[in-house]
Amino acid sequence: MSGTDIPNYLDYPWRRRGLDHDRFPHRNLPQAAPVVWPGKARVALWIAVHVGHYPMDMPKLPFMVPGGMERPYPSYWDYTQRDYGNRIGIYRLMRALDARGLRATALTNAVVAARYPALASEIAASKWEVAAAGMDMGKLHHGGLPEAEERALVQEAVGILREAFGPAVRGWHSPDHSQSMRTLDLVAEAGLDYVADWVNDDMPYPVGTAAGPLTAMPLAWDLSDQHLLLQQHMATEDFTDQAFRAFQTLYAEAAATGGGRILTLTLTPWVMGQPHRIRALGTLLDRLLAHAGVWPATGAEIVDAWRAGTGR
């Protein structure tokens, strides 16, 4: 068939049953077997905190991450506002969680552990889980990265974080969900066993790689503080209200299906850890915890319970 000047525009190499890639099969969530959480909890509450470092000289390519250096170099404006999160915001988040007996998963850029050992000690002392989140927010994973370079990025980040936090570092989150076609293989090759980058589900699912299986975890992005408060400029209460609405939906679905669901609160210390926002977070957490059948858990705990419940 002629009629288009664009090469391959009428070719559909992946037009077939299922997805247009081979990493995992398509799944319709209502048709997935129910998974029962410990204590028959309805909703697992996963608090995932971005512990990131944004270098002042970070590149703007291949794309600008939210929270990147938006103003011309040297942007003290951008750099110091992000840096606030590692100095103040995260401690405020820790106190808010400690006060409620909650632990988070820290999605940690490796350079944070290297630069701020005092913060690393606090995270370890808080019994938070640490998941590897690449090197820093300027080191993105993308298709233009040579394989050897990307492998080195993953290995170095995992090495630094395991040295600081031990073998309990099991999860991976790429800086701002950036991946190449190889990232999943390299993450599995580095010995990690779950990944939280794809935002296509409310529940875990298995992912295949060249180095063995990974479990995909549903890190919230559309419902994250970065997306709603930073990118969409909403008011704090519009974020916490939406988190509660999501909880109500998931809580009702868990009751209806007999299978647990996950509410992921994806938080950023320099965003939600601001003084004017922290009490709204506390109010939200109290509202959630007032419900029976809420299971606060780390990412790794949820992965383990999900695998135990499905045999995957």
Partner: protein, 306 residues
Amino acid sequence: MLAEPGHYDYAPYTGRPRIVWPGGARIAVWLAPNIEHYELEPPDNPRKTPWPRPVPDVLNYSHRDYGNRVGFWRMADVMARHGVRGSVSLNVAVCDHYPEIIERCCELGWELFSHGTYNTRYFYGQSEDYQRAIIADSRATILKYSGQSLDGWLTPAITNDETTQHVLAEEGIKYTLDMVHDDQPTPLKVRNGKLISIPYSLEVNDVPLFQLRNTPPDRYTAIIKAQFDQLYAEGADNGTVMCMPLHPFLTGQPQRIAALDEALAYITAHDGVWLATGREIAAWFTEHYYDAFVSWLAAGTPGGRR
């Protein structure tokens, strides 16, 4: 380049032939879920870059994939609970990729119309042959998977060419959604055949609202109610159309689904509302009012201020 689409003449919102919808209804409300697939590795296009990030754009790809895995099912359940059918703006390759989604649509009595093959294959600058090939594919695929005829059209990603509406009419499409110039159906001027526009919306469309205008769910419901209230009031004089375009990857999110639920509860609690499909609106208008509108336009839009 054209200075205007050229498919319709100016028509004031006064003095028009009076539309009454079936059962004496004053407003036709229709929901258009866009059920789409955006390719992970689409071909390059000189006019539009499919993804904001370099391929693979895992973040944006997986966000859209949420609609097919989770959001669609949640949205379909809410609509079914309110007895509201969808008219699916369908990337027809979805039939091949996820046939169980199509089965669910058919089970609920939804209409399927074409939104091209994939939402990452654009019409900008494409030849008429290319456009005809996509329409033929759409017709065959929708027939194969649902037994339905192809009656409606929304160009993928609304990337129509200036020739597209002519091609649609020549290929037997009955209604198009590429234009948002009116709150009532419009007979269109095309080279051959007969084509009407029925109202779609970029104003109460969840993509502009949730992605571009940063609308929280409670504001979404308020906007839908306000849109409905006004068109409902005006419909007492002359029947109106309200379209709610939906995208499962946005409205189907757990934080937003109650906003749709609340909006539908509000709309369906009113009398005089025709809960229709695109095909039904097009058929009713074409049968009862097409000729009257054409005559009124030909007569120079007589009638007057009110």
